[in-house]
């Protein structure tokens, strides 16, 4: 009974490790004074984007094609994992003059 459960736990760990590939990176994208930088970022599926909002206003990172829609409260950081490849134009729904591109390789 116990060894069985132990093995199952080990298997779960292994599965977890497989789900997060070793090469996954964290990429920071900063919103400050209504400017998104970098204006063009490159990443891979499985990478984590760290959205840093330095403004006193809430912002969103909203993909034009609907692939993602992240809301970042004032002075907060939100992390999201990329699940789909593509060249994504995104903008802030609250301030649509804030625009940038995220290139996500498979």
């Amino acid at each position: 009974m116990l060894p069985g459960r132990y093995l199952a736990t080990l298997a779960l760990f292994a599965l977890g490790a497989m789900a997060v590939p070793a090469h996954a990176a964290t990429i920071q994208i900063v919103m400050e004074n209504l400017v998104i930088s970098p204006a063009e970022a490159s990443a891979k599926v499985g990478d984590t984007i760290e959205w840093v909002n330095k403004d006193v206003l809430a912002h969103t990172a909203t993909a034009k094609n609907g692939d993602f829609d992240v809301t970042i409260a004032p002075k907060k950081t939100v992390k999201s994992v990329l699940t789909k490849a593509g060249t994504i134009d995104y903008y802030c729904r609250y301030h649509p003059n804030m625009k940038a591109v995220l290139k996500i390789a498979p």
Binding site: N33, L34, V56, L57, A58, P74, C92, R93, Y94, H95, P96, N97, M98
Partner: protein
Amino acid sequence: MFVRLSIAVAALSVLSGAALAQGAKLTDPQIAHIAYTAGVIDINAAKQAEAKGSNKEVKAFAKDMARDHEAVNKQALDLVKKLKVTPEDNDTSKALSKQAADKLAELGKLKGAAYDKAYIDNEVAYHKTVNTALETQLIPSASNPELKSLLQTGLKIFQGHQQHAEHVAASLK
């Protein structure tokens, strides 16, 4: 369209007319008062829209306006406190407030889809007017670099609001 345009033109002429009538350049305390007043006006309009609006997008937009303008005005208050500047009431602020009170009363008589459309159209026109005033008068007249920089950020925010309002207005058609 014609009505909206004439409102915008009237607002603009009130804004620039009153300011220019003074003959002199606006002072920082006056500029701070005008910018703060402009924010309060949009917060009041947003509160009315949150209560009276019927369209989901219009109500969400109003909530965004109240939140953003409250955040910007808080920043403005913090800055004037830090700079030891006392905002000074002036003809432009007075004209803006008077015109906004009239508009609020006018919108208050409308209901349903007619209200939604009138509110959002006014938001487009109002942000356009304020953005023009910021670009052509308030930013160039500001002496203190921190005040100037806050106004420049404000301009970017309000340009964003204008585009946002235009999107919502287009979705109502």
